[in-house]
């Protein structure tokens, strides 16, 4: 009996090690993510806060993942969100979407569905009318990745 248990543990450990095997080259890296964010933010400081990024922490199917970005803003002429940008860490490209809004929108909330190729970090950046940038990030676990077999 103990032997069987041991084998089972070994098997489970083996499974676990298979799932964490890294995918090869076809992924964006953290460097790509940092560069994509820098292209938007420039030299302005990127502060954490005011942005809320909602997506499930555990994703069974990476092909369609609901995502909502909310920014805490009165959305008035004087103080509003100009743009919301969403980036990812390990899809083949770091961009997810860029959206431009304004005081006419009333609420700085955008919902969409995205693809995720791997367990990774998602970053949302909000550009405010006063020129400041705010961000939020979320770590998600993806059990079935969006199809991107390595073809090299």
């Amino acid at each position: 009996m103990t032997d069987m248990l041991g084998t089972r543990r070994l098997f489970i450990a083996g499974l676990a090690s298979i799932t964490v095997l890294p995918f090869a080259s076809a992924h964006a890296t953290s460097d790509d993510l940092a560069k994509a964010i820098k292209d938007v933010v420039g030299d302005a400081p990127l502060r954490a806060g005011r942005v809320q990024l909602d997506l499930p922490p555990l994703i069974e199917n990476g092909n369609t993942v609901p995502l909502t970005v909310r920014v805490d803003s009165p959305m008035t002429e004087a103080d509003h969100v100009k743009a919301i940008h969403v980036f990812n860490e390990k899809n083949p490209q770091p961009h997810v979407f860029n959206a431009w809004i304004g005081p006419r929108n009333g609420r700085a909330v955008i919902g969409t569905r995205i693809k995720l190729a791997d367990t990774q970090k998602i970053v949302a950046v909000a550009e405010l009318s006063d020129g400041s940038f705010w961000s939020a990030s979320a770590d998600v676990i993806v059990t079935i990745a969006a199809c991107i077999e390595d073809v090299n």
Partner: protein, 106 residues
Amino acid sequence: MANILINAPKTAKAGSTIEIKALILHPMETGFRPGTNGRIIPRNIIEDFTATWNGTEIFRMKMSPAIAANPFVSFFVIAKESGTVRLRWSGDNNFSAEESVAIAVT
């Protein structure tokens, strides 16, 4: 003709904030996946989505291959005057689609 689904209220109180949801049937092929013959399936995505209210732009989004197939987008807008909300999608292979909804503001 693309299949488009728009969910927006038919009537709204002046000054109230309403939500508009839009879904369009589109494969959003990333250009990173090999097909059954082993060759890469060419990229075919929607890149731009814009919404206008009586001609004034109220929302614009640039999509990447990371947007799921059959792109869904929801956003908010303040209802100011009665009119037409026109949604437009465009992308690879000269893809272009348009749909509009009338909203009566009281």
